[in-house]
């Protein structure tokens, strides 16, 4: 299926991606091609087939005891942060 410019812009908004005006037609074209390509799946008969989310059948998510295992490393982690103050991550003002 061919995506319109508006549809592509909506996808970019949902994905929180700023695209330049010249990028939009490029992705419009390639995403349309990809969707057409994956459209081949429609032809497969999947009536009564359970969707498979995990490659090892029967494996369930493991649980662990509800005890604290991690130590506070926020100072080390925040060395990678673009902007911090007093142990907090700084972002532009959200509420006026």
């Amino acid at each position: 299926m061919a995506l319109t410019r508006e549809q592509l812009a909506t996808i970019a908004t949902l994905a929180r991606l700023e695209l330049t005006p010249s990028e939009i037609p490029v992705y419009q074209e390639s995403l349309s091609r990809i969707l057409e390509f994956v459209g081949a799946l429609e032809r497969a008969d999947t009536a009564n087939v359970t969707p498979m989310a995990h490659p090892l059948p029967g494996l369930t998510q493991r649980l662990r005891a509800d005890v604290v295992t991690e130590v506070d490393c926020h100072e080390r982690y925040q060395l990678n942060a673009p902007l911090t103050a007093a142990g907090l991550y700084l972002v532009p003002k959200v509420i006026e």
């Binding site: 592509l8 996808i11 970019a12 949902l14 994905a15 929180r16 991606l17 700023e18 695209l19 330049t20 990028e23 490029v26 992705y27 390639s30 995403l31 091609r33 990809i34 969707l35 390509f37 994956v38 459209g39 081949a40 799946l41 429609e42 497969a44 999947t46 087939v49 359970t50 969707p51 498979m52 989310a53 995990h54 490659p55 090892l56 059948p57 494996l59 998510q61 493991r62 662990r64 490393c73 080390r76 982690y77 060395l79 990678n80 942060a81 673009p82 902007l83 991550y89 972002v91 532009p92 003002k93 959200v94």
Partner: protein, 487 residues
């Protein structure tokens, strides 16, 4: 020149234990080779020379005291997708250009414990998305067999480094073929274990139901040696499996007489280059000569594996890459107007073209109104492909076919059309969808370029897959060929 670089990983470990040479000597020689090759091959993003020499000196002291692990003093490289404490981990992306890992990935910690010495971090397609290593923010990697050609991807840096004998072993990851495809295109051995066999803790996530860490080495015996140290349960990865790790090295000599090999009809389709086919069929004759029983096998739904992959992988990628928001780590745009502008511009500037394409594809197939038609449908077809494999393994021990449709292709040849590029992985994606172990080993040359043979086994049959590959390598010498200029 001592030519230590031509030794396999196993030979190096043995030579170090016997004190035939020192780790410092070995590391020095390989660092010089890396430096010399870098302007042409671009196989590394970071070279950690000082740390490597310090670790080599410590390894030599350990060896002198008669102590040490399986890999003490042996140099390796890590794909730049594995977190390495105190060392930059970029994942081939501008987004993580300034990211210094605060901790080691479990794979890195385990190899360190086994005594391995890291020489650096290898180049890769951005966030492991690509089949040619042309999607790296740090520039393309070149194929040591011909620098005009791609090395394959996404683990192209690790593959080129091993092929050019810059290092005897490197870690890699495989989501749709990213270990096996570059192994095939560079003429080396690439092992992707069963999903859950190797911990993904500290391995930057791309598609979590498919990603698996593994090895790139010259030989299957080296893959066994490395994997034995890397594999195992990790409480920090909730998908890690609590199955004991067999001694893959001890299992290598298991004879393959009587091994039931299924030849996959779907792997010999019209897309397969005739010369590649000739090499793979000749390899099957070799295995037959060793007593293996070759029969036909079929996975009727396999032709749909690429479409399934290009729904499932982008969906999981769009969700995994949501964490790159310009707030806690990674690239942040200049002077954001508001929070939304911060997110949008940080991501727009930080991600490259292929990553954006996949994030948007994934966003679309997961969005309201399209989720059932694309994502759920793909998961259902994935179940059909998985059933095909399970049925095939009722009658055979391993499935064999080519790793790729063609040998390495020129840089730039497939960048204009994403679908053409995606079809490179047509023979490798199936094993990821079903979570199966698979190896690629060199099985011949076409016009001077290596061709890969792929062996796929049932879940947790790594020992069987490795011993079959090892048996093949005992009677062939394709894996010993070194590109001109690197011997």
């Amino acid at each position: 020149m001592s030519a230590l670089h031509t030794h396999t990983l196993s030979q190096l470990a043995e030579g170090l234990r016997r004190k035939s040479f020192s780790s410092v000597e070995l590391v020095g020689e390989l660092l010089a080779r890396i430096e010399k090759s870098q302007p042409l091959l671009n196989a590394f993003i970071s070279v950690t020379a000082e740390e490597a020499l310090a670790a080599a000196r410590a390894a030599d002291r350990t060896l002198a005291a008669g102590d040490g692990g399986a890999l003490t003093g042996v140099p390796i490289a890590h794909k730049d997708i594995f977190c390495t404490e105190g060392v930059r981990t970029t994942c081939g992306s501008r987004m993580l250009d300034n990211f210094v890992s605060p901790y080691d990935a479990t794979v890195v910690a385990k190899l360190k414990r086994a005594g391995a010495v890291m020489l650096g971090k290898t180049n890769m397609d951005e966030f492991a998305m690509g089949s040619s290593n042309e999607n790296s923010f740090y520039g393309p990697v070149r194929n040591p067999w011909n620098p005009q050609l791609v090395p394959g991807g996404s683990s192209g840096g690790s593959a080129a480094a091993v092929a050019a004998r810059l290092v005897a072993g490197a870690t890699a990851t495989d989501t749709g073929g990213s270990i096996r495809q570059p192994a095939a295109l560079c003429g080396i051995t690439g092992m992707k274990p069963t999903y859950g066999r190797v911990s993904r803790y500290g391995m930057v996530a791309f598609a979590s139901s498919l990603d698996q860490g593994g090895t790139l080495t010259a030989t299957a015996a080296d893959a066994a040696l490395m994997l034995r140290e890397m594999a195992g349960f990790d409480p920090r990865d909730s998908t890690s499996v609590e199955t004991p790790v067999p001694d893959y090295v001890a299992a290598l000599e298991e004879p393959i007489a009587g091994l039931r090999i299924g030849v996959l009809a779907e792997f010999f389709d019209k897309g397969l280059d005739a010369e590649n086919e000739r090499c793979v069929r000749a390899a099957l004759k070799v295995l037959e000569g060793l007593g293996a029983k070759v029969t036909q096998a079929s996975l009727p739904n396999l032709p749909l594996s690429v479409p399934v992959y290009y729904v499932v992988a982008p969906a999981e990628c769009s969700s995994n890459l949501a964490r790159y928001d310009g707030v806690r780590f990674g690239h942040r745009c200049e002077n954001p107007r508001d929070l939304n502008d911060l997110y949008r511009r940080s991501r727009g500037e930080g991600f490259g073209a292929e990553v954006k394409r996949r994030v948007m594809t994934g966003t679309y197939v997961l969005s309201a109104g399209y989720y059932d038609a694309y994502y759920l449908k793909a998961q259902r077809v994935r179940a059909l492909i998985n059933e095909d494999f399970a049925r095939a393994f009722n009658g055979v021990d391993v499935l064999i076919g080519p790793t790729t449709p063609t040998p390495a292709f020129p840089i730039g040849a497939k960048t204009s059309d994403p679908i053409t590029m995606y079809l490179n992985d047509i023979y490798t994606i199936g094993a990821n969808l079903a979570g199966l172990p698979a190896i690629s080993v060199p099985c011949g040359f076409v016009q001077g370029l290596p061709v890969g043979l792929q062996i796929v086994g049932p879940h947790f049959s790594e020992a069987r897959v490795l011993s079959a590959a090892h048996a093949f390598q005992r009677v062939t010498d394709w894996h010993t060929r070194i590109p001109v200029g690197y011997a």
